[in-house]
C-alpha cells in the first residue's frame, strides 16, 4: 500500500472518523456524494467503489450503468464543521474526491475531473502548468423560497464596513473554515449589490482549484445554513443589480518561469500570453455555453452591470472580456490574465478545461492578438463596435449552444460523451424555458393587448 493511502487509513483510525464521504461531480457541476464507513475505506482505496451511474446527470447510458468511484487519496480532508462531534452528537466526517472509472479500469468519459486532467496533460506536453485563481461571488438570502423575490439579509454595498452585520459574520466564519481546510483566501469582501459577497482564492494548479471551487460552494452554503440563511451562486438572482460572476485569473508556467512574461515585449506580455488571449477571444463564443451554462447566466451578461458582453481585451478596462491586470513593479511573476465571463454556477472542471483549450489553441496556431480595447465598450453603439471588429458574447443559452455545437475545439476538449450529453441537456433546458410566460410579459402585455 502506498504511503498516501496508509496516511488516509491511519488518520481515519486516529481521528475516530465515522464516515468518509466520497465526492464527485456530475456534468453540470452538481456535487454528488455517498458515504462509506472506515471498514470499507481500504477496499475503496484499493479497488474503488462500484455504484449505479445512471442516476447521475450526464453519466452512464442505462445499459452500461455501473461505474467505479476511486478516491484520490491526496484530496482527503476532515470536514471541520462535522468535527466537534461530542457537543452536537455529530460524528467526525472526512471527504475525499473521486475519479470515476469504467468497470474495466479505463477512465469514465462522463467524469469532469478526467476532462480537465486530459486538457492539463495536453498543456503539460507543451511544457506548461496551468494555474487558476477565481473570484467567487454569491448572495445571502433570507430563504430559498422561489415563489417570492429573494430577500437579502443586509443593505451594504461594495467594500462596505458595516456594524454588527450578520452576513459579514457568516462570511468571516466561512473564510476561517476554508483556511482550516487549507484553502487560503486572498481576500473576502462585500460586493456591489446588497447582500452580495465575494471570496477571492489564492491560485493553485487548475485541478486542485476545480476541487476547491466545489468545496467553497459547499462551505459557503453550509455556513449560511447553520445561521438559518440561504447562500446562492445563481448567476443573476435579482433584476436591477449585479449578478454573481466568477472572474478567473489565469497563468501558464514553464517550470519556475511565468510563461506570460517577456520584459522585452510591449506591456511585458510574452508571445505565449498574446497567443493565449487571442485564443480565448477567438473561441469565447464557443466556450460560453460551458462557462455560463444556465438560462439565467445570460441575464447577468447584459450591459450596465460590469459583466462582459464583448469579445475584447484590455489592460485596465473592466468592461473587457479579458483583462490583463497591471502588475506591481518587480512582481512580474504575478503576470496573469483575467477571464471575466464565467459565473460561479459553472462546472469548474469543464470551465477550466475549455478556457485552457481555447488559450492553448491560440498559442499553438499563433493567433494574432487584436488591438487592445481603448474605450469603455459599454458606451459604444453596435455600429461602432462592428467598425472596430468587436463581436459580442452569445446573448442567450440558445445562441451559446448553437456556437458550441459547431465547435470542434469543444468536441475535442470535452470528449464525445460529455459534448453530446451537454448539448442535449441544454437544448432541453432552453425548450422548457421558451415555453414559459414570464412576469415581464404579463406586466407589459396583459393590460395592453
Amino acid at each position: 500500500m502506498r504511503s498516501q493511502e496508509e496516511y488516509v487509513l491511519r488518520t481515519v483510525e486516529e481521528r475516530g472518523i465515522r464516515f468518509v464521504q466520497l465526492w464527485f461531480t456530475d456534468v453540470l457541476g452538481t456535487p454528488k456524494t455517498f458515504s462509506i464507513t472506515p471498514a470499507e475505506l481500504e477496499n475503496a482505496l484499493d479497488e474503488g467503489m462500484t455504484f449505479d451511474g445512471s442516476a447521475i446527470d450526464g453519466f452512464s447510458r442505462v445499459q452500461e450503468s455501473d461505474v467505479l468511484a476511486r478516491p484520490d487519496a491526496k484530496t482527503f480532508q476532515v470536514l471541520p464543521w462535522h468535527r466537534h462531534g461530542d457537543e452536537s452528537g455529530d460524528a467526525p466526517v472526512a471527504r475525499v474526491f473521486c475519479d470515476i472509472f469504467n468497470l474495466d479500469g479505463s477512465p469514465f468519459q462522463g467524469c469532469p475531473r478526467h476532462v480537465l486532467r486530459r486538457t492539463l496533460e495536453r498543456a503539460r506536453e507543451g511544457g506548461f502548468t496551468f494555474f487558476a485563481a477565481p473570484e467567487m461571488e454569491y448572495f445571502y438570502f433570507a430563504d430559498a423560497d422561489p415563489s417570492t423575490t429573494p430577500r437579502g439579509i443586509d443593505r451594504g454595498s461594495y467594500f462596505e464596513l458595516t456594524v454588527a452585520d450578520r452576513a459579514s459574520d457568516i462570511r468571516q466564519q466561512t473564510v476561517l473554515t476554508l483556511e482550516e481546510m487549507g484553502i487560503p483566501v486572498e481576500h473576502a469582501q462585500h460586493e456591489d449589490a446588497p447582500s452580495q459577497h465575494e471570496i477571492d482564492l489564492r491560485y493553485t494548479d487548475a485541478l486542485t482549484m476545480a476541487d476547491t471551487v466545489m468545496t467553497v460552494r459547499l462551505v459557503v452554503k453550509e455556513m449560511a445554513r447553520q445561521q438559518g440563511v440561504h447562500a446562492s451562486f445563481m448567476p443573476k438572482p435579482l433584476a436591477g443589480v449585479q449578478g454573481s460572476g466568477m472572474h478567473t485569473h489565469l497563468s501558464l508556467f514553464r517550470g519556475d518561469t511565468n510563461a506570460f512574461v517577456d520584459p522585452e515585449r510591449p506591456h511585458g506580455l510574452s508571445e505565449v500570453a498574446e497567443g493565449f488571449i487571442a485564443g480565448l477571444l477567438r473561441h469565447a463564443g464557443e466556450i460560453t455555453a460551458v462557462t455560463n451554462q444556465w438560462v439565467n447566466s445570460y441575464k447577468r451578461l447584459v450591459s450596465g452591470y460590469e459583466a462582459p458582453i464583448h469579445m475584447s481585451w484590455a489592460r485596465n478596462n473592466r468592461s473587457a472580456l479579458v483583462r490583463v491586470p497591471v502588475v506591481k513593479r518587480g512582481k512580474s511573476d504575478s503576470t496573469r490574465i483575467e477571464y471575466r465571463a464565467p459565473d460561479s454556477a459553472c462546472n469548474p472542471y469543464l470551465a477550466f478545461a475549455v478556457i485552457l483549450a481555447a488559450g492553448l489553441r491560440g498559442i499553438e496556431e499563433g493567433y494574432e492578438l487584436p488591438p487592445e480595447a481603448d474605450a469603455n465598450l459599454f458606451t459604444l453603439t453596435s455600429d461602432e463596435l462592428i467598425a472596430k471588429g468587436i463581436a459580442h458574447l452569445p446573448g442567450s443559452l440558445n445562441e451559446a449552444v448553437v456556437m458550441m455545437e459547431n465547435s470542434t475545439l469543444l468536441a475535442d476538449t470535452l470528449g464525445e460523451h460529455v459534448f453530446e450529453w451537454f448539448i442535449r441537456n441544454k437544448r432541453a433546458e432552453w425548450a422548457e424555458y421558451k415555453a414559459q410566460v414570464s412576469q415581464f410579459e404579463l406586466d407589459r402585455y396583459l393590460p395592453l393587448l
Binding site: R15, F76, V78, R124, E180, G182, R202, Y203
Partner: protein, 226 residues
C-alpha cells in the same frame, strides 16, 4: 540513524536478513578493538552480538561496550540454547537476548521494542518544535494541542521541514525530496502547499514556516543568533 554494531563479521545470515528487511543500517566487526576504530562519529545506535563459535570474544566485546563512560545501549545478544548458562552473572552486559536459530519475527520485534524503550528508534515517534508536535507513528500533527487536519502532502512537507529546523531549502529541493518531482505544479506547487499549511497552522503559528526571499523556505528560526 547511525549503524548498529554487529559481531562477528560476517554476522549470521538470519540476523543480516532481519536488519536489512527492517531497514536498520549496520556494520560488522570481528575484533573488539574494531568497535572503537570503526565507530561512527555519533556513536553506534546499538549492538547485535552473536555468540556463535566465539562466545568468549562476544562477551568480551559486550563488556567493553558496557564499561564505557556512557554504556552503549541497547545491546542484544544472540545465543544458542546450550550457551544460556554463559549468561549467568552477565546480566548487565546486555538488554535483551534472542536464541539461535533466530526466528526473524522475534528478533524484529525485540529490536523494535528495545529501540522504542531507549527512544532511539529508526523513526523517532515524536517530532517536536515549540508548539508543534508531529506524531510520526500515527501521522498526526498538532499545534498548541490543536490537532491539524492535513492532507497527505501537507503532512509530508511539514514533517520534512520540522525534522530539519533552521535549514533553508529551495523549492526545487523540497519538490524533489517531498514530492519526488512527478507532480503537475512545478516548483510553484511548493508555494501553494506552504500557503495551505500556513492557513491550517493559523495566524499565530503561520510564522513557523518562513519565506527566505529569493531562496526558498525555512522551518523555525535560524540556528545562528543574529
Amino acid at each position: 540513524m547511525e549503524p548498529l554494531l554487529c559481531f562477528p563479521d560476517p554476522p549470521p545470515p538470519s540476523v543480516v536478513g532481519v536488519l536489512e528487511r527492517a531497514g536498520y543500517p549496520w556494520k560488522a566487526v570481528n575484533r573488539p578493538e574494531a568497535a572503537e576504530t570503526e565507530e561512527p562519529e555519533d556513536g553506534w545506535a546499538g549492538a547485535v552480538i552473536a555468540s556463535g563459535d566465539d562466545p568468549a570474544g562476544a562477551f568480551l566485546l559486550c563488556r567493553q561496550l558496557r564499561k564505557r563512560d556512557v554504556p552503549l545501549a541497547p545491546v542484544i545478544v544472540v545465543v544458542q540454547s546450550d550457551q544460556l548458562t554463559e549468561l549467568e552473572l552477565r546480566e548487565d552486559l546486555f538488554d535483551d537476548l534472542c536464541l539461535e536459530p533466530v526466528n526473524a519475527d522475534e528478533l524484529t520485534t525485540r529490536l523494535a521494542h528495545l529501540f522504542w524503550r531507549t527512544g532511539r528508534g529508526l523513526r523517532p515517534d515524536l517530532l517536536e518544535h515549540g508548539p508543534l508536535v508531529l506524531n510520526l507513528e500515527t501521522y498526526q500533527a498538532a499545534v498548541s494541542g490543536r490537532v491539524l487536519d492535513l492532507t497527505y502532502m501537507e503532512y509530508e512537507l511539514l514533517r520534512f521541514l520540522a525534522a530539519r529546523p533552521g535549514k533553508v531549502f529551495t523549492r526545487e529541493t523540497l519538490l524533489s525530496r517531498v514530492w519526488g518531482y512527478e507532480y503537475y505544479g512545478g516548483a510553484r506547487t511548493v508555494d501553494v502547499h506552504v500557503r495551505r499549511l500556513r492557513a491550517k497552522l493559523g495566524e499565530e503559528h503561520a510564522h513557523l514556516i518562513q519565506t527566505v526571499r529569493s531562496v526558498g523556505y525555512r522551518f523555525g528560526q535560524t540556528s545562528w543568533a543574529p
